[in-house]
Amino acid sequence: MISTPTIRHIAGGIAFALFTGLAAANPNTDALVTTDWLADNLDRDDLTVIEVSVNPGKFERGHIPGAVNFRWHTDLVDTVRRDIVDRASFQTLLRDAGVSGDDEIVLYGDTNNWFAAWGAWIFDIYGVDSVRLLDGGRDKWEAEGRPLSLRPASHPQGDIEVSEADESIRAFLPEVVEVASNEAANTQLVDIRSAAEYEGRIIAPDGVDELSVRAGHIPGAVNVGWGNAVNEDGTFKSADELRAIYAQAGVDGSKPVITYCRIGERSSHTWFALSKILGYDVKNYDGSWTEYGNSVGVPVTNLAGTVWGGQ
């Protein structure tokens, strides 16, 4: 006969194994939802699914049923100033999408959720909680052969109130220059671009319109490509794996972090991994290399010595 304490022991062991197994499969359920979860919850009235894709026409040609389209180029940035969307426009956008105060929101998009992560950063700036990313984004949903819809969703008008912009998760040029000049040595910069861009061998990848006149990186930045944060299917790696990857580059959460890339969208993805999954104190520098590498009088580390060849 098995004693009661032994049964309790075994049950406890099973519960612990289940808990750790789940935790490894889904690092932080507060930040991410799986495709399975979303498929099961699509019909909920208090859930708004929003697609933020960068490729025009992606949403229109088929989207997760019931999803609303936020266009990165015009909805989540200011179209005149180089800036993020202003508070009033963002609030209108959310209300038109049917978002009310306590609704849950799931964001997803193309190109590995880069622009959806930008969306998550904007939601955070304006104090909108209950926002999660679809792990693996649109690519995973499609790869699993899940249904897409052509029909535009119609929602009753929402009544959400968004807060004033919280700039504490956004880095601007003066602060970045302070870090680069070693005047804010307590802050860690993470450059998530390719090694070739980081080392200054190329100014930007082939075919991009946004360029800088200088090659290289911000002094003191470490290079951890955004792709290090994801598995082959585009889902985020587990929290333990992420912690180890960034710790190897000296980013362990003991200091505040600033992430940057070329225009600030891929760095949102790393901002999401570091702040939302690992809980570090992170700012995204949306000016990124196109601003920094074009600024006059700022220090640049250019390992390859590439000189701008433009006329």
Partner: protein, 397 residues
């Protein structure tokens, strides 16, 4: 297919069977197998492009859907049936496109354009490009899409014309930056539903097409019934005889709607443009940056970074299927080409290539897909292309 007669010898019969039945069947099987292979290895859009291109090729070949030929029929003989076929395609396409637009852009007055639709800037550059394209059509004897399906009919002269098109595209890239700043960058991109709503846009489009159809029917001089022709069997009507252009037009209108919904609007120059741009870049003779080009919808001409693009698969399907169709119908007749004729084709091709690049597409992309999309640029292209065709036709006659 020509009738098999009792006087055919056994080898002639075998030859006839090989060309009219075996080869077309093999090509059709190859296209289906290729599409299946593409769907496994590259996903649906590429596989669909190949099948849509093949269907387009069969329709062009069967219905002799050639913009220049049907216009010449009208100018030479007042035979308006071909032009009416084009109007039929535009009417069906207009209805289908507007149906899809309602899904893609619920509020057409918001200043946003439907994705990928061929709605271009309206400027004097577009008018000049369309005029040049029309002249090139007359000189070379066909528009670009017709040259492509004529390849399948064994038209050797079309090779010269398509070579000219590649050269013309190169010239188009070379002059693009100058023309862009001179007349394109400030030009308005006018989409009728933005101005008049979907209902108004359909009324304007179908009203315009209806008026044109009425005018053509009034000018039409009916051709007498063919003398001595025996009534054809169903198989003969389907495979042996040409289809009336309106049948091709109605089916092409439907095909255009399907293509826009699932892959991209019909267009035949993107792949040719990409080849020319990649070659020009390789030779170092083109500008590094083509200002604003990638921001416009139309037959976009990206530098080639994949061997088989969607438009490339579409063109391959078009040529192979028109070859199969021509073989089955007995329309495959390679002919000798004189140097003078080849030179005319080449020169016409150059004009068409320059015009198609500068107008962001040709009679298929800018005219057919553009007008179906209720783009004013499509109508402007049609007008000036016709003008260029007519002026050159008058000079040649």
């Amino acid at each position: 297919m020509e009738n098999i007669t009792a006087t055919d010898t056994a080898p002639a019969l075998r030859r006839r069977l090989l060309f009219s039945t075996v080869l077309p069947t093999l090509i059709a099987a190859g296209l289906i197998a290729g599409s299946w292979q593409l769907s496994v290895s590259n996903g649906d859009p590429l596989a669909l492009s190949l099948l849509l291109g093949a269907t387009f090729g069969v329709l062009l070949q069967r219905a002799r859907f050639c913009f220049f030929c049907v216009t010449r029929d009208f100018l030479d003989h007042r035979d308006a049936r071909g032009l009416l076929g084009i109007l039929a395609a535009l009417a069906v396409g207009t209805l289908g496109y507007h149906l899809i637009f309602g899904l893609f852009v619920p509020d057409p007055a918001g200043g946003r354009l439907p994705p990928d639709a061929h709605i271009g800037p309206v400027s004097w550059v577009l008018a000049l490009a369309a005029f040049t394209f029309g002249s090139g059509m007359t000189l070379s004897g066909s528009c670009i899409s017709a040259h492509l399906y004529r390849l399948g009919e064994g038209a050797i002269g079309s090779v010269a014309a398509l070579g000219g098109v590649l050269i013309g595209f190169g010239l188009g890239f070379a002059t693009w930056n100058t023309l862009y700043l001179a007349g394109i960058d400030q030009a308005p991109v006018i989409w009728l539903p933005d101005l008049a709503g979907y209902g108004g846009s359909i009324l304007i489009q179908l009203g315009g097409l209806g008026l044109l159809a009425l005018a053509l029917m009034r000018w039409h001089r009916p051709a007498g019934p063919a003398k001595g022709a025996a009534p054809a069997s169903f198989r003969g009507r389907l495979i042996g005889q040409r289809w009336p252009t309106y049948v091709g037009g109605l089916l092409i209108g439907a095909l255009a709607v399907m293509a826009y919904l699932r892959v991209a609007p019909l267009g035949v120059t993107a792949e040719l443009g990409s080849l020319a741009r990649t070659a020009g870049n390789g030779l170092g003779v083109l500008p590094d940056r083509l200002q604003g080009l990638d921001g416009f919808s139309g037959c976009a001409t990206a530098v080639k970074n994949v061997l088989l693009s969607e438009n490339g698969a579409f063109i391959i399907g078009l040529i192979l299927a028109s070859l199969a169709s021509a073989l089955a119908a007995g329309d495959f007749r390679p002919q000798r080409v004189t140097v003078g004729k080849a030179a005319g084709s080449l020169a016409g091709g150059v004009l068409m290539g320059w015009g198609a690049m500068t107008a962001l597409g040709c009679t298929v992309g800018t005219l057919l897909s553009g007008i179906m999309a209720a783009a004013v640029s499509g109508w402007v292209f049609a007008l000036f292309c016709l003008l260029g065709l007519w002026v050159t036709w008058r000079i040649r006659n």
